[in-house]
C-alpha cells in the first residue's frame, strides 16, 4: 500500500472486544491530517472504538494503521501521544493533578520545558477556555462542561499536530459550544487537523470538511462538507 505522508491510513482493519463479535469490520480509509473529519453514526456503531484504534489505545485484530507513513504498531503510546492529542469520552479519565492549573502544567514540567514558557502558555489556555476562576479547584469536582474544557486545555499545552476528540461537545451549553467551535477553527487555521466523534449535527455543519458515517462497524457513507 502507498504510505501517504499526509494522512492516517487504515488498511483492512478488524477489531472485536470479544472473540467472534466484530466491532470494526474491515475498514479501509485514509484520513487527511489537514482536514476536520467528523465520525457520526448511531450508538454502538464503533465510533469510539475506531478512534481508539487510530490512537493506538487498542490494537487491531488484523490490518494495519499508519500515522503519516509510520506503522503505529511499532510506536509506543507516548510517541503517538506526542503527535496526536486525544480527548476521552469521559474526560475525568485523563486528570492527574490536584488543581486545574497544575493539570495543564505538569506534563510540560515533567518534560523539563522552560518555566516562563509554561507559565505563559498555561495562563493563555486558562483564559481561552474560561477556566481562570476555577484554576485552584480540584479537577474531578468540576462540572461536566468544565471538565471537558480543562481536558482540551491540558491536551493543547502539548501542541499536538493532530487531535482526536471523542464527543467534545458533550455536556457543553451553547455559549461554551460556540467558544469550542471558535477554538477548534482557530487551531485548524494553524494547521492542526482533527477527527471528531460526535452526535452534534449543528457542530458538524459548522466545522467539518469530511463526514464519515458508521453503521455496525463499517463506514457506510463518506462525503465532503462544503462550509
Amino acid at each position: 500500500m502507498v504510505k501517504l505522508l499526509d494522512s492516517i491510513g487504515l488498511k483492512s482493519v478488524n477489531f472485536g472486544y470479544i472473540k467472534g463479535k466484530k466491532i470494526i469490520k474491515n475498514i479501509d480509509i485514509d484520513i487527511n491530517i489537514k482536514d476536520i473529519t467528523c465520525i457520526i453514526g448511531p450508538n454502538g456503531s464503533g465510533k469510539t472504538t475506531l478512534g481508539k484504534l487510530m490512537m493506538g489505545i487498542l490494537r487491531p485484530d488484523s490490518g494495519e494503521i499508519y500515522l503519516v507513513g509510520e506503522d503505529i504498531a511499532e510506536m509506543s503510546l507516548g510517541q503517538i501521544g506526542r503527535k496526536i492529542g486525544y480527548l476521552f469520552q469521559n474526560p475525568e479519565k485523563q486528570f492527574f493533578s490536584n488543581t486545574v492549573e497544575d493539570e495543564i502544567k505538569f506534563i510540560p514540567e515533567i518534560k523539563g520545558l522552560d518555566k516562563k514558557y509554561i507559565e505563559e502558555k498555561t495562563a493563555l489556555l486558562l483564559d481561552l477556555f474560561q477556566l481562570n476562576h476555577i484554576k485552584n479547584s480540584f479537577p474531578l469536582k468540576l462540572s461536566q462542561g468544565e471538565k471537558q474544557r480543562l481536558a482540551l486545555a491540558a491536551i493543547l499545552v502539548n501542541e499536538p499536530g493532530y487531535l482526536i476528540l471523542d464527543e467534545p461537545t458533550k455536556g457543553l451549553d451553547v455559549e461554551r459550544r460556540k467558544v469550542l467551535v471558535q477554538v477548534l477553527k482557530k487551531l485548524h487555521g494553524e494547521g492542526i487537523g482533527m477527527t471528531v466523534i460526535t452526535h452534534d449535527y449543528a457542530f458538524i455543519d459548522q466545522i467539518s470538511d469530511r463526514i464519515l458515517k458508521m453503521h455496525e462497524g463499517e463506514i457506510v457513507e463518506d462525503k465532503r462538507n462544503e462550509r
Binding site: 490512537m55 489505545i57 509506543s76 503510546l77 507516548g78 510517541q79 503517538i80 501521544g81 506526542r82 486525544y86 476521552f88 475525568e92 479519565k93 485523563q94 486528570f95 492527574f96 493533578s97 490536584n98 505538569f106 506534563i107 515533567i110 518534560k111 474531578l140 491540558a154 491536551i155 502539548n158 499536538p160
Partner: protein, 241 residues
C-alpha cells in the same frame, strides 16, 4: 453444563477441601486431574483466566521455590559444598504447594460460569441475607473495574506525550505518583455515584424484596451434589487409611 450455582459452590468446596486436607503428591495430582476434567465439562475459560493471573502465578512459583529450599529432610538432591540446597522433602513440599493452589484456582473458575446475580440468588436462597450477598457481588464486580481504571490511567498519561520507557527512573516515580490521584479519587467518586443510583432504585426500601431470578434445583443438581459429597468422603477415607 447448566447446573445451579449452588451445585457449583458445593463442587468448589469439595475440591478445595480435598486440596487443603490431602498432603500426598500423588493424591493431589489425582484431585488436580479431576478438577481439570470438571472445569472442561463446565467449559470454563481456564487458559484465559490463567493468562490473566500470570503475574500471581510467578509469585506462587517463587514461594514454592523458597519453600522447597527451606524444607529439609529426606535425601539431598542439590548441595553446594556443605550447604544443602534442595532435598526430596523440600521438592515434595514445593510441588504440593503448587498443585494445591492450582486446584483452588481452577475450581474457582467453575463458579465464574454463573453470573453474579445467580450466585447472589443462590446464597440468598441458602438464607444468607441479601444485603451481604449483594455487597459482596458488587465488591467482586468492582475489582476488575479498579484494575481497568489503573490501566486506563497508565494509557491516558502516556497519551499526554509521556514516553515512560525513556524517562529516567527518578522522574518515573514522579510520573507514577500522578497516577495515584485519578485512581484513588475516581474510585471514591464512582463508589459514591454507585451508591446514589443503588439507593435511588429503592435498595432496602422494605424489609423484604422479591426476586425476578429464582433458582430451582433439578434432579441433576441433587445428583451432582450427592455424588460430589460421596466422592469427596471416599477420597478422604482412602487417603486417611
Amino acid at each position: 453444563m447448566n447446573v445451579d450455582p449452588r451445585t457449583k459452590l458445593v463442587i468448589v468446596l469439595c475440591l478445595s477441601t480435598l486440596a487443603i486436607f490431602i498432603k500426598d503428591v500423588l493424591f493431589l495430582n489425582g484431585v488436580l486431574l479431576i478438577t481439570i476434567i470438571i472445569s472442561l465439562i463446565f467449559k470454563t475459560n481456564m487458559l484465559q483466566i490463567l493468562r490473566k493471573i500470570k503475574r500471581l502465578l510467578y509469585v506462587l512459583l517463587a514461594i514454592a521455590v523458597i519453600q522447597s529450599v527451606f524444607s529439609a529432610g529426606g535425601r539431598t538432591l542439590i548441595e553446594v559444598g556443605e550447604l544443602v540446597i534442595l532435598t526430596t522433602v523440600g521438592l515434595q513440599k514445593g510441588l504440593e504447594f503448587v498443585i494445591r493452589i492450582m486446584i483452588i484456582i481452577l475450581s474457582a473458575t467453575i463458579i465464574t460460569t454463573s453470573n453474579s446475580r445467580e450466585i447472589v440468588q443462590g446464597l440468598v436462597q441458602w438464607k444468607l441475607p441479601y444485603e451481604i450477598a449483594f455487597m459482596v457481588s458488587i465488591g467482586i464486580r468492582f475489582l476488575p473495574i479498579l484494575i481497568e481504571e489503573i490501566k486506563d490511567s497508565v494509557i491516558a498519561i502516556q497519551l499526554r506525550g509521556i514516553e515512560i520507557e525513556k524517562i529516567p527512573l527518578r522522574e518515573r516515580f514522579r510520573v507514577y505518583s500522578y497516577l495515584f490521584t485519578p485512581v484513588f479519587v475516581s474510585t471514591i467518586i464512582r463508589a459514591q455515584k454507585l451508591s446514589m443510583s443503588i439507593e435511588m432504585r429503592g435498595f432496602r426500601a422494605y424489609e423484604t424484596r422479591t426476586s425476578y431470578t429464582v433458582l430451582e434445583m433439578s434432579y441433576t443438581d441433587y445428583l451432582v451434589i450427592f455424588s460430589s459429597l460421596l466422592c469427596t468422603s471416599a477420597l478422604m477415607y482412602l487417603y486417611v487409611s
